[in-house]
């Protein structure tokens, strides 16, 4: 997941004069989101956004635990647990969770990232009491039966094959993360190493669940045809008695921030053999974490370089008279405690990967002056503004938007600050970030191609 779909409001350009330290609540809000926010005494954060256009609502439950919180031997635990959370609890019979949700006219799903695990449901309004109760129940009462655990182990392995082992782009991403973040908590795959998936035990997963799933490590978001007052009563009723746990915070505190930062001291080249008749590639660099001032400049830099038809790399390599790549993109992937800037794509037949890499590296280092211009930065800001509205078309989109910010920044309205920061960025700021990026001594270059000799993972 790319954490911050970048945004910017031209409306704010002229009107906002607050400094970076201004609380977000005092900043203008182009979205006019009337969010009710409250916290239970056990630490659980709740956000409510009312919208009565349709008799439905979206519920998002964020847990601050993901791939980075695992260790060798239990890689993939967050994701495996996500699967198991749809099995039974003390109050829901085995495998009846989905029957209960769908039988009540709803749907449910979940996703796991390096930093978070998120469960979400789209439901008719009449089910609010039921579903708030269900989320409280599975926060503390999960039951993992042996046969269901083993069945789900098979399913997760099939998912791994689909996403990575039989997908050149999956291989590319997996290996890039492993190399760039080698030795850090981000250096393991979210879905888990295959050896761990085969050996991890039910007890290990259950302990992991008990360690991380607690009200003070969760944010509940409700958007749709609900009333904040009613939600408050229901949340108190179902979650109010649950005990806070201090384990997550203790675990986090024991890992210094520096442990998450990539340590790539020299260029790394990896050529994986895979089922791609033309080379697919990814070039990556260490980047700043979410919320760091440098990350905002890197966001704009990446968009100017490789986001959209008119972007620098697309024009040079894709839409030129002699295209060297069929596709190319640049992206800034910001994680909670680190980041990765990447350029990826697929070469056209006959283009040598090593020659292309050499040319790309040269191009990137010169692009800080040629691609980062006043016009291009304004263009990116305009794109962010329109893109902001596009992603908020549904209740689910809104719930994810404010829930992401609450979980990572402790402030659902943090987007107002983001707007302010983007607004303040100058050509010099972005050029500086660009130059610092490509002056780094190390980067990771990975290709997947049927003509490579390296073994695929």
């Amino acid at each position: 997941m790319r954490f911050l779909p970048l945004l910017f409001s031209a409306i704010l350009l002229a009107g906002c004069s607050s400094g970076p330290s201004t609380p977000s609540s005092n900043l203008p809000d182009p979205l006019n989101l009337d969010v009710t926010s409250f916290k239970l005494s056990n630490g659980m954060q709740v956000l409510v956004l009312e919208d009565d256009r349709l008799p439905v609502y979206s519920l998002y439950m964020f847990y601050k635990v993901g791939g980075k919180d695992e260790r060798k031997g239990i890689t993939g635990a967050s994701h495996f647990l996500e699967h198991l959370m749809f099995k039974g609890t003390k109050n829901i019979a085995a495998s009846k969770f989905d029957f209960m949700v769908e039988g009540n006219g709803g749907s449910s799903n979940a996703y796991t990232s390096n930093d978070m695990t998120v469960y979400h449901e789209n439901m008719p309004t009449s089910t609010l009491d039921l579903m708030v109760g269900v989320e409280a129940d599975r926060m503390v009462n999960l039951i993992i039966k042996k046969d269901e655990f083993e069945q789900e182990r098979q399913v997760v392995q099939e998912e791994r094959k689909m996403r990575y082992e039989n997908s050149p782009r999956g291989q590319l991403y997996l290996r890039t993360m492993e190399e760039l973040f080698k030795g850090t908590p981000y250096g393991t795959s979210v879905i888990g190493d295959i050896a761990d998936l085969k050996t991890v035990s039910r007890d290990q997963i259950y302990r992991y669940y008990r360690q991380w799933y607690a009200p003070n490590n969760a944010t509940l978001v409700l958007v749709g045809d609900v009333r904040a007052g009613n939600v408050k009563n229901l949340v108190k009723k179902h979650f109010g008695e649950l005990m806070a746990s201090d384990v997550p915070e203790q675990s986090r505190a024991s890992v210094p921030l520096s442990a998450f930062v990539p340590q790539v001291k020299a260029p790394v080249d990896v050529a994986l053999k895979g089922q791609s008749s033309t080379p697919v590639f990814m070039l990556s660099y260490p980047a700043a974490p979410s919320g760091a001032p440098e990350a905002f400049a890197q966001d704009i830099m990446s968009s100017a370089l490789g986001d959209g038809k008119s972007s620098h790399l697309v024009q040079k390599y894709v839409l030129s008279k002699r295209p060297q790549v069929a596709t190319i993109y640049a992206a800034n992937y910001t994680l909670e405690k680190a980041g990765m800037f990447m350029v990826g794509g697929e070469l056209v037949r006959g283009v040598d990967p090593l020659k292309f890499k050499k040319d790309l590296l040269k191009e990137l280092s010169s692009s800080c002056m040629t691609a980062i211009t006043e016009n291009n930065i304004q263009k990116v800001k305009n794109q962010y503004e329109a893109g902001l509205f596009r992603q908020l078309d549904t209740s689910g989109g809104l719930a994810q938007f404010i829930g992401d910010r609450q979980s990572l920044y402790g402030d659902w309205a943090y987007y107002r600050k983001e707007l302010q920061i983007y607004r303040g960025l100058t050509v010099k700021d972005v050029q500086g970030a660009c130059e610092r990026m490509f002056a780094q001594p190390g980067h990771v270059w990975v290709t997947v191609w049927e003509k490579n000799s390296g073994s695929a993972q």
């Binding site: 256009r53 349709l54 994701h79 699967h83 989905d98 029957f99 769908e102 039988g103 009540n104 006219g105 749907s107 449910s108 799903n109 979940a110 996703y111 796991t112 990232s113 789209n122 439901m123 008719p124 069945q151 789900e152 182990r153 098979q154 399913v155 099939e158 998912e159 094959k161 689909m162 082992e165 039989n166 997908s167 050149p168 089922q275 791609s276 008749s277 033309t278 959209g308 038809k309 008119s310 024009q315 839409l319 008279k321 295209p323 069929a326 596709t327 697929e346 070469l347 056209v348 037949r349 016009n375 304004q378 305009n382 503004e385 329109a386 509205f389 596009r390 908020l392 078309d393 549904t394």
Partner: protein, 465 residues
Amino acid sequence: MGHRLGEKFRERAMKYLILLLLSATAFAADFRKDDIQRLQWGDYKTTWLEDKRFPLATVTMYFADGALRDGAKNAGTTQTALDLLFSGTAQYDQKSLSEFFDFYGVDFSHNVTHEYSVLSFSALVKDLPAVVERFCHVVKEAQFPRSELLPHQKRSLAKLRNLPSNHSALAERAFRSLMMRGSSYEQATEGNIASLELLRSESLQKRWNELRDEAPKRFYVKGPKEALFIRDQFLQKCGWKTGASQDFRLKNPVSGMGHRIFLVPIPGANQAQIRIGRYLPASEAKDPSESLSFASDFLGGGFTARLIQEVRVKRGLTYSIGSYVSLQADYGRSGISTFSKNETVAETIKVVKDILEQNTNSANIKQEDIEHMRNYVVGHYPFSFEGSDSFLMQLLMLDHVEEPLEKLYMFPEKVKALGQREVAEAIRKLFTWDEQVIVVVGDPSLVGPLSKIRQVQIIKPETLL
């Protein structure tokens, strides 16, 4: 990472729900009905879906003319014409057009089906005058320069040649092509290697002129009221025309594709993609029924549907399985999509077969299971009205199949009337085993276990490109 099941089945089911509506006697709640206004913009019927929440508008042009017009030899012409619409005019080259539209944060999209084509853009309302001005310039003056076509061809061919690296995409292409073999719908709308190599600027120009000047068309607008101010500018500057209506629809029957398994060999794959389904000829596609949609959901439309429960939950054979039915105006398709590890591919197909055969007999369908799925389908139905852009596309498709808006609001009541007999009959119509085309994309060694199910025909990947 980690969605338990691809959302695409549900999205697909929702997308085509609108195409499956019958006449009805009762109305559901009129979700967002007040937001819809039918307008007349000059000679063109126009639909406005009001959305006051954000200052963003979407303008969509529907052309009742699609890839069928290309024919086999020129397959991909319509798609490429829209791909390259913004590649240059006498006044502006590709780069300056890209710069202009990107500067305003404009998002373009297009979709070419065999029956119709859609071109769409979204932009901030405040920018609409400038955006429409340049957009209409392109509509009138697009040139499809050879200098842009040649690199585009090179890129398109590269992507197509590398399609076998994406097993799921290859399976979809193979499934569609083999299921439709012998019909006008066999060719993929994006074309094939042979047809793409033949593309010329002149043919793209001619194709675009046909869409612009001859194809019957309708317009769709989503956004706040201020977005409607583009009306005169959009009509006058773009200069849309409509010529004499031409019958481009060709309804060739398809038969005899069942009783076989097509294996597309990918050496080294440790997981196989499986597709099972059939082509629905015009005679069946012209008889749409909410029972078909419901039957598809009953089998594979959610986590509690028959297929996911038997194949994934009880047996752990796959991560994802779902079924769908999609109907255009003159034909349709039913399908089941899944994958499994090499060792269990044959077992997975066998389990699917058993489920299909079991559920074609109404005596094997429990009324309580129907009640459960009905609650799911009806309860979840309001979400299909939620996203304005997707709702707008539903309205467009409703018009394409020439159904009145009221049909949209009758679906829940019709579903409530379905019983075991209707559901079994619909499953029989869609998924009678002997009529199913089966496509497997996976390791060549699978020919052994698959041969025990049916005769296997090997289809080399390159013959599908």
